[in-house]
């Protein structure tokens, strides 16, 4: 697939177009993607069903009873011709996620330290120092893919995913970091746990994090973690879980 002809509209069924804006993952992609999202909301109105932004693309799903794929395409061509990126100053909301970095809730801290040839403290400092951007939501409701990690923290996924990762688990894999909103299987390296409620059906907007938002993980001690509602139950060793 060449990237010389971007942006490009790719068919995605009778009710969708994939708008491919970029060929590689860059933080600045977000400024264009959020602008494109807003423009689509305005241009499609009631005919819009869903918009799924991700690192380099926006999937646009429309109601095929109201408009045809060809009409939808025309609107998208129009939007793209006039698209201007959001201001750098207008970048996403900043969230500070209170995180307890500890091997009892982050059982891969030591493995990551070993792989990175760093101390556990240095891993924590490096992970919590930086501000991350939310590039995409997916995998499960409210699961935000964030990046990009400092090169020193890059490590592969687990060879065997855990069948049950506790809610709030803060994890890293490749160039990305995330926090698990609910108990799900997961193959990322767990390095701590946040007290933040990441997905709440009673909250306006449901998900704490949205594409384009900024996130800082703030290292806190167990006491603060618990006082903010965090669950300190240690993770069950993987061996125990696979037996059950």
């Amino acid at each position: 697939m060449s990237h010389s002809d971007l942006p490009r509209l790719e068919p995605a069924g009778i009710d969708g177009w994939m708008v491919r804006l970029f060929g590689t993952i860059e933080e600045n992609n977000l400024l264009w993607l959020t602008a494109l999202t807003h423009d689509c909301e305005a241009a499609f109105g009631e005919a819009l069903v869903d918009l799924v932004p991700s690192y380099t693309t926006l999937l646009v799903i429309f109601d095929p009873l109201q408009i045809s794929p060809w009409q939808a395409r025309e609107r998208l061509v129009d939007i793209l011709a006039r698209l201007v990126p959001d201001d750098i100053g207008g970048e996403g909301e900043l969230h500070k996620l209170a995180t307890w970095y500890n091997s009892s809730v982050g059982p891969d801290l030591e493995r990551v330290a070993e792989l990175s040839d760093m101390t556990v403290d240095a891993i924590i400092d490096t992970h919590s120092y930086q501000e991350y951007r939310v590039f995409a939501l997916g995998f499960s409701p409210g699961f935000a893919f964030m990046g990009l990690l400092d090169d020193s923290l890059i490590c592969p996924r687990l060879e065997t995913p855990r069948p049950k990762v506790p809610a709030g688990s803060v994890a890293i894999a490749g160039q990305q970091t995330a926090a698990y909103p609910a108990v799900t299987p997961g193959g990322w390296n767990l390095i701590g746990r946040t007290a933040a409620r990441l997905f709440d059906r009673n909250r306006d907007g449901f998900s704490l994090l949205k594409v384009g938002d900024r996130v800082r993980f703030v290292a806190v001690d167990q006491h603060t973690f618990e006082s903010e509602g965090g669950d300190p139950t240690p993770i069950t060793p993987a061996r125990e879980e696979t037996r059950s």
Partner: protein
Amino acid sequence: MRASTTGFRVTRAGPLALLQDAGRFGVRHLGVTQGGPADLHAWGWANRLAGNGWGTPVLEITFGGLQLQAECDLTIAVTGADLSGRLEDQPLPLWRRIKIGKGERVVFGTPAKGLRAYLAVAGGFSAEPVLGSVACVVREQLGGFDGQGRRLTDGDQLNIEIPSPNMPDTIEVEAPEQERPDYTAPAILDLLPGAQVADFTGRSLFDAFNAEWRVDDRADRMGVRLTGPPLHCRIPSLVSEGISLGAVQVPPDGQPIALLNDRQTIGGYPRLGNLTPLAASRLAQCKPGQSVRLRPAGAERALREHRQFIRQVATAINDRTSARNRST
């Protein structure tokens, strides 16, 4: 808000019975999946025959095993798979509107033809929407009668909306013959080629549209894996991006997976394209081991057929948009 009452008691839940409206829309950007009926076609007809508007909640019964007892006199319609259902000691009529009396039992057995049956009750099943929909997604713990994504359980009391007493006389009593698929026949699935189709090798493209594919037993509401000649794509994976209904993705092992209603919202495997909504419906009725073929289709015909289907079953077409609820 209309009045509701208990319509059925679940005397045995069976393996997988789920409440499904048209699906959960306007929330895909939050990582929340679509849900809704795996077989849109049979689901749409169930509501039509029961006199309900598009989007009314229906029971999706997979594999059978469900046993229900009517708690009041009811009008129902059961469509989709033949799950060896019985109404008291008679075979349960499919694809038609029937009346059942208080205390009568509807009992589903094992799949004879197809996998998923749809039971609509006049007025519709009643549940509190979560994120704009009652579609039950077990994995996400969203929707269903309890709002927490729980499948039906023994002893459940199922609430229904009390229907208006007059069935519009424009609504047929049974579905026309040509609308009742033979789910045991080899399925031909229309596929709209996608952007990466040119990145598959020529041999693989030939195989994709000429080979006989077998439905694997790794098949559920998230997706259906097909086995056959391995397909090779020149790009092994993409940066993760949104996935629409019916997308046929090809992971590195070359065995395609058609993604259905409960699919993850983003993913990074190259895709052959998208099954049409009606083809995805048809695939959802295929048992493991059954053979299917993929047929390249044009968007124009696919759109025409889709609109034709909706026009046929949507009692009031505006019901559909009202079932949607954008969260933004």
